[in-house]
Amino acid sequence: MALLVLVFLMCYQFLNFGNIVYNNGAGRYKYQQDMALAAKYITDETRYADTMAIFNTPEVTSDNKYCIFIDGSGHFRLIGPNKDITIPQDDQTNEKLSLTFWVDSSSPNNLLFFKIIDQVSGYSISSAVYLENIDNIAAPDSGSGIAIDFTKTLPGS
């Protein structure tokens, strides 16, 4: 009987370990996917912006502006005319993202740098976007912020 208990205990430990590994893997896959998707949204939506400003607080000051920021739940948000995107889309997640935008203040240019961090796992991705229609991005003195707002003229509008 004792041997049986020992064997079952070992089997349980093994299955439990497998379950933990699977859940960790699924979690990792999800936040990687979410962060890559957020980066894609930033790149695609800002590419043809006409005006852009970096802020340390999220703000949408007019109806025709877009704003990208992290909301109070740690979710990525893109708000704009007829657009409201949240990543991750489900609430059953422990992802808490943070976002930093910055410009290289040493020379005026059209590059918007950004970094997305999952605060739970510490995983981060960094990238940059070349903005086709802007000569300079308005930024705080520090050159960085946690939100951007921008306008863009869509083709044909």
Binding site: Q32, A36, A39, L111, S126
Partner: protein, 144 residues
């Protein structure tokens, strides 16, 4: 209890085998056998972790390669030159090189950004390429 002689002998043998419990050696052997059976399954977890971390690093590397391409789009056409491999600031473990090649007719440059990153089984790399047209060359109008 009444037993025929043959059955009595079997019963006594059974008692001798099962009635006295198990030896430490029996248990140790059983545990060892179970571990030997489970050992190959550990490889599943190992490879699972390996691929998960590979995907994690690859995503970061692609983003950095993309950033390198965007930077090359921001630079003036004439200033586009190859850059040796150098570490990416703020991204420990990642390094990046940029290769710029002129087209034979001088009409465009091919820019290849390669990001190197540490993998579980050695260094890995990912490359993204883009072509930029020479802004100094104007295509002649058709019909002239």
């Amino acid at each position: 209890m009444f037993f025929l002689p043959e059955k009595k002998r079997i019963y006594q043998n059974q008692r001798r085998i099962f009635g006295n419990g198990f030896l430490l050696l029996d248990i140790s052997l059983a545990v060892l056998l179970i571990f030997l059976a489970l050992l190959p399954l550990q490889a599943v977890f190992y490879y699972s972790q390996l691929h998960l971390s590979a995907a994690r690093l690859l995503t970061g590397a692609v983003m950095l390669a993309q950033a390198g391409l965007e930077e090359s789009l921001d630079a003036s056409y004439d200033s586009l030159v190859s850059r040796d491999r150098a570490s990416v600031p703020g991204q420990p473990g990642y390094s990046r090189s940029i290769s710029v090649a002129d087209s034979p007719n001088g009409r465009w440059k091919t820019i290849v950004v390669t990001v190197y990153y540490p993998g579980a089984d050695g260094e890995k790399q990912v490359s993204l390429a883009v072509q930029r047209a020479n802004p100094h060359i104007r295509l002649s109008s058709t019909g002239q």
